[in-house]
């Protein structure tokens, strides 16, 4: 049995192979991975999908390389000094959250409402989790950067303030999900909020930016001079973070698929 396993039915032989982080051991056997981008059904030792583990190792390697770039390769910023180096991880975190992560939530919400396939609900949920995680990173590294440079942890900078509202929106999304049992009702309600929340974000950004340009800023944020090396390091870091996001998403979605399968097995057991 191959092809996309939706939550309408599933045969007893189809196993959802998992590609968890390299520390867990898997059971034997292999089969086509449902909907994970058409990768070949190759199993590594212990039955895990090899390509996922490779992706994981690759993304960790990329992150380490980005770290090297941020700390060693990039020149020290003229005005801000070495503290500025956090920017090479701070900005990509923000970008991954706002860009791919929450947009995937929006798109999967729409697709779920159209197709009623719970797989998309799971993708949306996983993407929101990862997005909130990266948003948290952005919100903590931002003040840690601002404090030594501008003397205050929080400067009501429009981008960071929007990120804060973003954090609240998607934490609300996750709370909505955790307040109902898994299933179509939860997926439907979450999808509604997922759509409205995402549309709100640009409006929030515009309104906060208007607010901050009309009123004198608390602290004059000095722009950064970015020379080509710094730009290259930043681009690379963006790439590394995007790959990391993709890896985390795939791993978490497969885990949620497995969880769904567990529920189905339990039901089967109960019905005998």
């Amino acid at each position: 049995m191959t092809g996309t396993i939706s939550d309408q039915e599933q045969g007893p032989d189809a196993r959802a192979e998992d590609g968890g982080p390299p520390l867990t051991s898997g059971s034997g056997g292999s089969s086509a991975v449902p909907g994970s981008g058409g990768a070949p059904a190759v199993s590594g030792p212990g039955g895990r999908k090899l390509w996922i583990d490779l992706l994981g190792l690759g993304s960790v390697a990329l992150i380490l390389m980005a770290l090297y770039g941020a700390l060693i390769v990039a020149p020290t910023e003229a005005v801000m000094g070495d503290v500025q180096r956090i920017f090479y991880f701070h900005m990509p975190s923000a970008w991954v959250a706002l860009g791919p992560a929450f947009t995937v939530v929006f798109v999967c919400s729409i697709i779920y409402l159209a197709k009623r396939d719970l797989k998309f609900d799971r993708i949306a949920g996983a993407s929101a989790e990862i997005g909130v995680m990266f948003t948290t990173i952005t919100l903590v590294t931002g003040p840690l950067w601002a404090r030594p440079i501008w003397g205050a942890y929080w400067t009501w900078d429009p981008r960071l303030t929007t990120t804060l509202v973003l954090w609240f929106i998607y934490v609300a999304y996750l709370m909505l999900r955790s307040s109902t049992a898994e299933g179509h009702k939860r997926a439907r309600l979450a999808a509604v909020f997922g759509i409205v929340g995402w549309i709100d974000v640009p409006i929030v950004f515009m309104s906060i930016r208007w607010w901050r340009t009309i009123h004198p800023t608390l602290i004059n944020g000095q722009g950064m001079q970015m020379d080509p090396t710094m730009q290259a390091v930043l681009m690379f870091s963006l790439f590394a973070f995007t790959i990391l996001y993709v890896y985390l998403l795939i791993v978490r979605v497969r885990q949620l698929d497995l969880g769904s399968r567990v529920d189905r097995l339990r039901q089967q057991l109960l019905m005998r």
Partner: protein, 47 residues
């Protein structure tokens, strides 16, 4: 805290947050695997 202190704190936070997520996913994975094995054993026993 001097400049490097804040820089270190920033990166430390990133590793801690990412690490926590990895741990969370990893543990859930182990639990799920155990559960799947148990359920399949029971289903087979009943069959």
């Amino acid at each position: 805290m001097n400049q490097i202190g804040f820089l270190f704190a920033g990166y430390a936070v990133i590793w801690v947050v990412l690490g926590t997520y990895f741990v969370f996913v990893g543990r859930r994975q182990t639990a799920l695997k155990r559960e799947v094995e148990r359920l399949e054993r029971e289903l087979q026993a009943q069959a």
